[in-house]
Each structure stands twice: as structure tokens, then as C-alpha cells.
Symmetry: C2
Subunit: 356 residues, 2 copies
């Protein structure tokens, strides 16, 4: 059954049948009723969506590219928040959200080519991601969330530099000079261990790079040589990995008084590890995160909150309002330093205050 065969059956033109579905005001109610009834009787399911899309040049869906194991997207509360916000924006506009199957491993870009969508949202991928390249090659609008920064492409994200600088100043003000850092993956190759300056500076994930740079700059101001600061990178982004990274760092640098983590998930792991080694937080060790996920707030983590749901929603709105703009649009989201109960002056400072 097709629209044409139904029209033939009815003895009307295809236009009439099409109008019965798409422009009810273009034909008499009786005729329309007759068309619809005959369609039901004959089992015609209505106009084929793909053929309609081809004709109207509208797919009615936006693609979401997140080059990661899907498990990541559904396990990280921050990512879920972004997804939810984006889904809400799509729902408002009545368009579908098409998750592009792009595993990080297999560089199979075909899925991007195959996606019938009117635009793409790209969420936090490395700047050398081949899927990203495929997306940008498609003649549809694109909005990038967080990273990378691409000249001429719309983007939504926080100002990582400002946010992390505020956090660093808080830690510095507390008196910490012996700090360590746990960060997420810096490139597509796996490196579960220390990340030295060259790797930090050549990181393919802009967000991580910006956060590390902001930390380096802030600590340099108070005389800390960043090349001496231990930074441990972790490929996977889970609480357990955060704990393992913390262990790795503290084993090698027990003198560290503050652990700065570039995400709450890692920080929660660090808290677990501190607990495991009998370190009291914040008395013996300060731990900070980034994102402001609910679980972190419940744990009292000192962190930088960012409005993740708003981030996804803003990206969706931006994408869906494309067309009436020329210059690329950048939306910078407000972040907020939230001082919890996991940061305090280092022990040595307390000893100063209270005497030995």
C-alpha cells in the first residue's frame, strides 16, 4: 500500500490523499473522511516518513554525537543531565533525538553519514575525533557542548578557566601548596597514570586542558612550580577509577594535602580512597570536584556547580533555532563555586594556629 495505490483505489489524485493527511483544510470533510476510512480498511499506514522527509527536506530529528561508550553517557549523572536537557528541548520542538551509534574504538564514521537528521549536537569529544569530522562535513547545523572549540561552530559550555581559577584560589587561600590533581582522559589513547606537562599541554580534550592550565596559572602566582605537581590521568570515568587514581597519587606523594579532581565522579572516588587509608577529610586531606552532581552535594563535596540540564537544553534550542543567524553563537553558562565540607586548611596550617 502506498499513497498512490490508495489514491487509485479511491479514484482521486495523490494530492488529495496527501492533503487528507497533511492539510485537512484543503479538502472537504466528507472526502477526507472517506480517504481516511478507506486507508484504514486497506491497511494503509499513512505517508511514509522517509519519503516525506526526502520531499520536504526535513528529517524531524536531531542527532546526538557523543563519542564514548554509551555506558558512559548513562552512568555519569552530569551526562544524563545534559541528555535530559537536550531531550526536553527536542520534545518542546516536537523533533526526535537520534543517538548516533559511535563507539570510541571502531572508527566507523558511517553511522554519522547514515543518520537522517536536521542537525547535530556534539557532546564533549576530543578535537581529533573522526566522528566529529564527519559531522562537520555534513551540510547541517551543529552545536558543540563543552568541547572541542571549533572556529565558526556554535558552542555551549561553562567558562572552565574562570570556574577553575575560583576553585584554585579557594584552595590556595586555605593554605594548600602541596596539591595533586586527578583528571579525566586527556587523549584518545589510554594512560592510566601520571600525566606530565607535555601531555597536559597537548591534551586533545579542551576542557581538561583548560582546567589544568587554569590550575597551573593560579598556583604559579603563589610560587608553586606546576611541573612538580603530580597529575594522575584516568581513561575511564568512574568512582572506582577515581579511587584507584587517588591511591596511585597518594602512594607516590603522601605529602599532598589537597586533591583537586576535574570531576565529581573522580572526587567521590578520592573520598572513598581517603576513607580507606584512614585519612580524615578535610582534616588530613582536602578533596574537590567539578560539576555539582546531586550525589556530590549529598556528600558535601566542595565543587564547582554547572547547570548541566540547562546546558543540554540550551544546545537543543540553539540548534533548533538555527538558520536565522550568521555568526557562530557561543553560550557561556554560569558556574558556581560551592564550598562544602571536604575542604579546609592543611594540617600544617592548623598546627601553626594551635601550636605543636
Amino acid at each position: 500500500m502506498t499513497l498512490a495505490s490508495l489514491a487509485a483505489e479511491l479514484g482521486v489524485s495523490r494530492t488529495t490523499v496527501s492533503n487528507a493527511y497533511n492539510r485537512p483544510d484543503q479538502l472537504s470533510p466528507e472526502l477526507r473522511k472517506r480517504v481516511l476510512e478507506t486507508a484504514r480498511r486497506l491497511g494503509y499506514p499513512g505517508p511514509d516518513p522517509v519519503a516525506r522527509s526526502l520531499r520536504t527536506r526535513k528529517a524531524g530529528a536531531v542527532g546526538l554525537l557523543l563519542t564514548e561508550n554509551l555506558s558512559y553517557a548513562f552512568r555519569d549523572p552530569a551526562a544524563i543531565g545534559v541528555l535530559e536537557g537536550l531531550a526536553l528541548a527536542c520534545e518542546d520542538a516536537g523533533v526526535g533525538l537520534h543517538l548516533v551509534p559511535a563507539s570510541p574504538g571502531r572508527d566507523d564514521v558511517a553511522a554519522v553519514h547514515r543518520a537522517g537528521v536536521d542537525g547535530f549536537v556534539v557532546y564533549s569529544v576530543p578535537d581529533d575525533d573522526p566522528h566529529l569530522g564527519a559531522v562537520l562535513a555534513r551540510p547541517v547545523p551543529t552545536v558543540i557542548i563543552d568541547q572541542p572549540r571549533i572556529e565558526g561552530v556554535d558552542r555551549v559550555g561553562p567558562d572552565d578557566t574562570t570556574a577553575v581559577t575560583a576553585l584554585a584560589e579557594h584552595i590556595i587561600q586555605l593554605g594548600h601548596r602541596q596539591v595533586g590533581v586527578l583528571c579525566m582522559r586527556l587523549a584518545r589513547d589510554r594512560n592510566d597514570g601520571f600525566a606530565y606537562l607535555d601531555r597536559q599541554q597537548s591534551a586533545h580534550f579542551h576542557v581538561q586542558r583548560a582546567r589544568l592550565e587554569a590550575l597551573a596559572k593560579a598556583f604559579a602566582k603563589v610560587g608553586v612550580d606546576w611541573s612538580t605537581v603530580p597529575v594522575v590521568e584516568r581513561f575511564e570515568h568512574t568512582v572506582d577509577d577515581g579511587a584507584a587514581a587517588a591511591r596511585h597519587l597518594l602512594d607516590a606523594h603522601p605529602q599532598v594535602t589537597a586533591l583537586i579532581c576535574t570531576s565529581d565522579i573522580l572526587a567521590l572516588g578520592a573520598l572513598a580512597e581517603a576513607n580507606r587509608r584512614g585519612l580524615r577529610v578535610p582534616a588530613d586531606l582536602t578533596v574537590t570536584g567539578f560539576d555539582g552532581i546531586a550525589e556530590a552535594e549529598r556528600a558535601g563535596l566542595t565543587t564547582v556547580h554547572q547547570p548541566v540540564l540547562e546546558k543540554g537544553r540550551a544546545a537543543g534550542k540553539l540548534l533548533l533555532s538555527s538558520g536565522d543567524h550568521v555568526k557562530p553563537r557561543i553560550i557561556t553558562l554560569n558556574t558556581q563555586l560551592r564550598i562544602g565540607t571536604t575542604s579546609a586548611p592543611p594540617r600544617t596550617m592548623e598546627q601553626h594556629w594551635f601550636g605543636p
Copy 2:
């Protein structure tokens, strides 16, 4: 730029250009290279996915219908698990996952018609959902997760009756006879309050209905008249709503010794409310859930665990392996009663044991 104009530019046929993209073995490497290079130079982005889909009759995506506020899907860990499993199955098969924008309020079924997909997964909708009707009217395979049960349609889900019966027997064996129930919405209309027998029995959500029926049957066996058992329904499915529902129930029926909740989320709310009123769990009140989400296990909740990720994945696999079967396939997932620290004999029993 289209495939045709590129072919014209190159002085070759459209077939050749098409083959350059889709069947590299059908033309000489040199010619292919020339085609691809010219394409890049002229900014031809490759075959249009929609046109290709029309021609090949393959959209390369599966639709997901969940008639709910999207916020629900992204806030309930059980739903996220299903989503993740389904996404994994899609990723394995290299097909996209198209979230259909179907708000519960607006009965706008158009989004279902517009979705260019090769099949649908329907997750837990009421049996009278109009979107579901639209899905079933489309000539593509469909798999339903959890509910409703539709004759002739593939389905994946747990055996709620067996699972809840085991749970009920546990509670009964502990000695509880004065029980109360918190359940999720029973129909599309909002009813935040008591749900009496007629509403329970006419519930449009099969899962809730089956669970209530199983409870009724199990308690009837030990002489409890189910019509005297307070059941509080809640339209929204959040921890806060669970707490409010528990308050509602306990205010009216303080003699209740066990609160049986049809989901972990509601149960977590009930725990919070018990805590608020100074009731010790399980000494003063037994609380049970359903689902086995991580947070519940962390809280030591007595619950029925179901493999949510597996549920989503199984549904995806089923859908993607359609075609080579005739009879509808039903996959029943194993559930597991997990007795935690929130269930114990009622106080009156203890008094029996230890004397007054």
C-alpha cells in the same frame, strides 16, 4: 551538490559515484580516488541519508517510545538502565536510537508517524496510550518492554506475578498482616491518594495491576481481606512523591506494620518518611521496594531485583533480529528477591516472642 551533479562534473554516471561510496570493489581504485577527491573539492558531503533510506527501505534507526515526561526516563535509575541496555544493543548493530518526542499530555501522535525508523521499542506505557496505537499501526516490527501485553507483539519483561508473590510470602512469613501499599500511577489520569479495588482492578498499567493482584492473592491466602488494605497511588514517580504517599498512608493507617512499594524509588521515599516520623526501620516498620536499583541496594532495601540493563538489551536484540520469526516472542527475565535490612517481623510479633 548532489550525487548527480557530481557525476556530471566528473563526466561519469551516477552509478559510478554511488559505487565509489557504497561498493568500492565495483570500480577501479584510481577512479574511486578521483571521485572522492572531486567530491571533497566540490564540497559534496556524500550520499544523502534520507534519499538513501528511501531507496534502500532501511532507516538505520530504531525508535523508542516512552510516553512520559522525558524527565522521568532520565531520573529513574531503572529507566536509565533500560535505556542503556537498548543503546548498547543499537550500538552493537550500528543503528541509531531515535527517541520519539511523545509527551504524555499532548496526544500528538504525529511524532510517531514522522519517525524514520525500522522498528519501535515501546517502554512501559498504559494500554490505552494513543502513541502506542500509532506505533502498532506502522508497518514495522515492535517490541514492548514491561507493558502493556498486546496479543501478537513481542515482549520483554519480568514475571511480575511470580516476583511479587515471592516478596509477599517473605512479608507474610515475617508475620505482617497489617500492610499498606504504595504504587505508581494506575491510569493516565492523576490520582494522588487512595486507590480502591475498582481502580486497582481496572488499572491501565498492566505491571502495577499484576503486582497488586499478586499481593492480593498472596494475602488472601492468609486471611487478609484485600479490600481493607490501604493502597496509595502516586502519579509522579519520585522519591519525594514516595515520601508524601507514605505520609498519606501512615497518617490514615498508623497501625500498618509493613509498607510494600511497587518501586524502589517510592520505597526510598517511604524510608525517608519513616525516618522523619521517628519510626525505626525495620523495628517499627518494614519497607520493601521493587527493581533493585543501586541506590536501593546501598540503602539495604528489601526488594525484588530485575536486570534492567539486560531488559533493554534483550528488547533491542529482539527487534533487530526481527524478520526470521513468525510467532511473537516473549522473553521473561529472571528476578531475584533480595532481602535487605528493611524487613523484619512486626513489633507485635517481637512482643510475643519476648513477652510484654
